[in-house]
Structures are given as C-alpha cells and as structure tokens.
Symmetry: C2
Subunit: 337 residues, 2 copies
C-alpha cells in the first residue's frame, strides 16, 4: 500500500493557509449566498442557523468545492451557490447530530439544541436541507443534484449505521471504515466532485477529485476520532472524551480493545455500554490507548488516507491550487500533533 | 366569497372511495416503488420506515398526484416515482414531527420515536427525505424538483412557525392560516402540481391543480384540528386532545378564546401554557368550544376551503377523475361528522 503513495513533503509545514488564501475571494461570495439564503420570515430560523453558520467552523467542505474549481481553472461563478448548498447540507447534519448525540458544545459554543431545544433544531436542519436543494435546483445541473442527493442519503445511512454500532463493542475496523466513509467522506467527495461537473472537466477529473475528497474525509475523521481522546476543549470546540462517554466505537477504541488483556477488554466493553463515564475512567482509557499504540496507529492510518488524497491529484498539472490541496491533506492529520 | 364557490352536491355522499378506485392500479405501482426505495443495507432503516409507511395512512398525497394525472389523461408512468417521492417527503416530516411533539401514537400505532428513540427517528427521516430527492433526480424534471424542494422548505418554515406560535395565546387566525398553509397545504399543492408538469398540460392546469391541492390541504387541516377535540383515539389514530395538551394554537382555540369571557380567556391562556392537562380540563375546553360555536365555525371554514378546491377544478371537462377529486374535497370535511 505505502509503495503507491507519495511521501508527505517535510519541507512544507502542513497547513490550511494555502487553501484559505486560494479561495478567500470566492469564499466571500459563498458567505454572501449563505447569509442571504438562510433568511426566512420566521425569525427563529436565521437566529438558530446563524448561531452555527456564523459561529465559525472552517467551511472545509465549501472550501473544497472552491479549491477544486480553482484546480480546474473554472472561470464561472456557479460554484458559489453550490458551495453554499454543500455547507447547508453539512450544517443540517450537524444540527441533527447535536440532537442525536445530545451534544453540549459545538464549535466552541453551546450546541443549538441546548439553547433552542430539540424541536427547533430538527426543523431548522430540515429547512437548511431543503434550501440546499433549492440552491442546486436553481443552478440547474441534474448531475450535481444526483451527486449531492445521493451523498445526502449515504450520510443519513452512515449516521443510522453508527447509531446501530454505538455501544456495540464487537464493531470491526471494517464496519467502522464503512461508517465514516458514509457519514463523513461522502460529502467531502461530493463537494470536490461538484467542481469538475460544472467545469465539464471530464470523467477522469471527476473520479480523481471524488477520490481526493473521499480519502481526505476519512483522514479528517480518523484524526478527529484520535483527537477526541487527546486534545482539550478549546482546541476541539467540543468536550474531550465526548465519543468515550457516548459509547462511540471509533478506531482507537477498536484497536485498544482488540489488543487489550481480558481485563482491558472488560473495561472497554463496560465503558462503551455507558458504565464508565467518570474522569478517572477517561484517564484509564487514555492510558490503555497509549499502551496499545491505538492512537498512533489511528493517526498512521489517517496519514495513509491523506497520502492517497494527495496521490489522487497526480493527474493534474502542478499549480498553486494543487499545492494548497496537498497541504490541506497533510493538515488533516497534522492537527493531532 | 361564498358567491364564487360551487355548492356541495347533496346527492353524492362524501367519500374517498372514488379517488381510491380511480388510483388503485397506479397506487400498486407506487407502493412497489416505496417498498423498493426504502430499502437499505442498514437494517434499522427499512424497519423503522416500514413501521410508519406500511402501517397504513391514506396515502392521501401520492393519491393526489395520481388522481391529478388521471384528470389530465396522462399516459406515462413517471407519476409513480414522483408520487413515491411525495410520500417519502411526507413520511420524513411525520417522523420529525413525532420527535418535535414527543408523540405517543401515530396512525393507531406507537409512534416510531417511542420504539426506536429520537436519534434513529430523526436520521431515518433524513434518509427518506434524501431518497425523495434521489427519486426526483432520476425522473429528471428540474421543474418538479423546484416545486417539491420549495414545498419542503416552506413546510419546514411552517413547522418552525408553529413551534413559535405554540403556547402563545395571542396567535391570530391569520397567523394560524399562514402556518397550516405552509406546514400542510404546501405539500398537498405540490403533489397535485407535479401531474400537470409531467403531463405538460400548461400553466393554467398547473395553477388550477395547485389551487385544488392547496385549498384541499387547508380543508383537511382545519378539519383535523376540529377532530382533535371531538373524536376518539380509534378514529384518529392518535390521542384525543393531543393538540390541547401540546398547547397548539389551532383555529378552534383561537375562536373560543376570542369569544370567551375574561374567565374563559384566562382558562385558555393557562391551558395553552401547559397548566391544564387533566381530563377534566379537556372536558371543560370541549364545553367552551361548543358554547362559542368554535368547532362548528372551524368546520364551516373548512367547508369553504373544500368548496374552493372543487371550484378550482372547473376549468377541466367533466370526468370520473374530476368527480372523484370533488368527492375527496367533500370527504375532507365530512370526516368530522
């Protein structure tokens, strides 16, 4: 596997800065669409949606649409509306996730469900999701609609799948990869694929950018799942150990459980079933994760996916956009260090 | 207003039977699409969706698509997929409504959220909603996509609006009509409008069927809101007085409150704020509704909308479909008697 991937470039520090600079002007246009289209005569909608949308976040997914368009020298402006649609789909899933997980924090702020309650949070998610489709319909590409409606169905499937796996200690690495491929990587992939579609760049470009986005999404999610056990609240914008307390079967847990003693296995099973939610339990989990190299191996796997993402760009000529997108893939994993 | 509407036909008993017979064959095809497209490798999805979808319901909205197509002598089969999409959108909103309202019963069965929990119910709703869009994209009409994505956004707006109005005794009849126009009538209207679009029947036919659906939807909702205070659990498939206990500001309450004494007004305010949830409170509410003619006037208003729906069909030549659709409009209100 490693023979086919490009080594990361040690001369360039991993960073999102290149991609942010590359897309800054376009992102202003996207933000204008987002602000305009989250409006409603029903005041609670922009209030609740704005809390999350204006409240930061990297705008990673729309940025991928914009960067992919830059990579292809796309000369038009259709990507602004479609990038906004991608962000709306993502925001809708975050709002519903907060209800599903009973989240306390999101992006360093109180989660919307804690401020406005589950009912409003569910419904505003539905509104944003519908708005996303309205934006796509306005654009008028059935192919874009197909890619993004399919991605939406796959995300929902992945989320239900994750719910089923939750607290189930038997979840395998393979099942886990299928889940994150659906719940996270599908939208990363679709966000990238939108650009070659509207740029009419052909099937090879579509496949390459789909692969870039998909592998990048998995790299991000694997890294997030490691960070959940290592970072602090300020860095993450959510609580340390949230996955642990929610009984989420992420790769670090799957590896540590598989490699643990009978006693360790019993601990993990008990913990995933929700019977070990104290700070000392989390500390013990962190110790086991260290001892079994579960975190470092999770990050190693993330690096493999990041490298695959970079490799997928090999069909495109060198450019500022290509460099920025490669740096972003390195950044996906480097956040954990 | 009444001068412009056709009187209901006393010779024909109000019934859905005509529309059901008219659409029976097509509905078999629609049901096949529904069963096929609610499948997923994630077993919980068809299990939860099937509980509601297979669990009965009149399939009113897809039936409207089919009846409208019959009215226009539409010869194709595109309406099967699109009617299934309409039903998926409706099912998604029902699942989310059950979470929003904390419903105990739906269509005479335990509500999905009580069996599988809120998280799975929210996510399966999202899945069905995405599947609806996939079906529409497969059909390939951007105009249908526009009508149904807009309807979906309007529904979500209406639901949030209703949430804001909930427990707010000041809600006016005008605000109430705006809410039910959005949360109920928009999908009825869109379901009907799909048919003239695919039949390429022209703008006049579209406008007429949109108006039929919209007015029919309002007639149904007004009647439902009256029935919530008059019928029994078996007839409704949900609990008597659910709206009362949820503090929903429906027209019966708006009228009874406006017409009540200072003491009655205080009762309604208290009740809508959730401080009067006992059986004797509901009985007192029913007494006040009777005394103020609030229920009969709500049903009278429903009859006006039903008549408008029937009138909207006047541009079409007489046919079995037209008769069936007129009967359905009468049935919308007659259920309350």
């Amino acid at each position: 596997m490693t023979a086919t991937v490009t080594p990361l470039d040690p001369a360039r520090p991993p960073s999102l800065a290149g991609m942010m600079a590359l897309t800054a002007n376009d992102m202003n246009a996207v933000n204008a669409v987002i602000l305009d289209r989250m409006q409603s005569k029903v005041a609670l909608i922009p209030e609740l949606a704005g809390h999350l949308i204006a409240g930061g976040g990297k705008r990673m997914r729309p940025m991928l649409t914009l960067a992919s368009a830059a990579l292809l020298d796309y000369p038009g402006s259709r990507h602004h509306k479609l990038a906004a649609a991608v962000e709306f789909i993502h925001t809708a899933t975050l709002l519903h996730d907060d209800v599903v997980d009973g989240s306390a924090m999101r992006r360093g702020k109180r989660a919307a469900n804690l401020i406005w309650g589950n009912p409003a949070t569910v419904l505003v998610g539905d509104f944003l999701f519908s708005r996303a489709f309205e934006l796509m319909v306005e654009d008028g590409s059935l192919k874009v609609l197909k890619v993004l409606s399919h991605a939406s169905a796959v995300i929902a499937e992945g989320e239900v799948d994750q719910l089923t796996a939750q607290r189930r200690i038997e979840t395998s690495e393979e099942e886990y990869l299928k889940i994150i491929g659906a719940k996270t990587a599908a939208l990363f992939a679709a966000a990238c694929q939108v650009a070659p579609i509207i740029a009419e760049a052909g099937e090879k470009a579509e496949d390459a950018l789909e692969a870039y986005g998909r592998n990048l999404g998995i790299a991000f999610q694997l890294t997030d799942d490691a960070i959940d056990y290592t970072s602090d609240e300020e860095t993450m914008g959510k609580g340390l150990g949230d996955d642990f307390r929610d009984g989420k079967m992420t790769l670090p847990v799957i590896l540590a459980h598989a490699r643990g003693s009978a006693e360790d296995k019993a601990f993990w099973k008990d913990a995933m079933q929700g019977n070990r939610v104290g700070d000392e339990d989390l500390q013990h989990a962190q110790t086991l994760l260290q001892q079994t190299d579960a975190l470092s191996d999770t990050l190693e796997e993330a690096r493999t996916y990041a490298r695959r993402a970079i490799d997928a760009l090999s069909i495109f000529p060198d450019s500022r956009a290509k460099t920025a997108m490669a740096d972003a893939a390195q950044f996906a994993v480097a956040r954990a260090y």
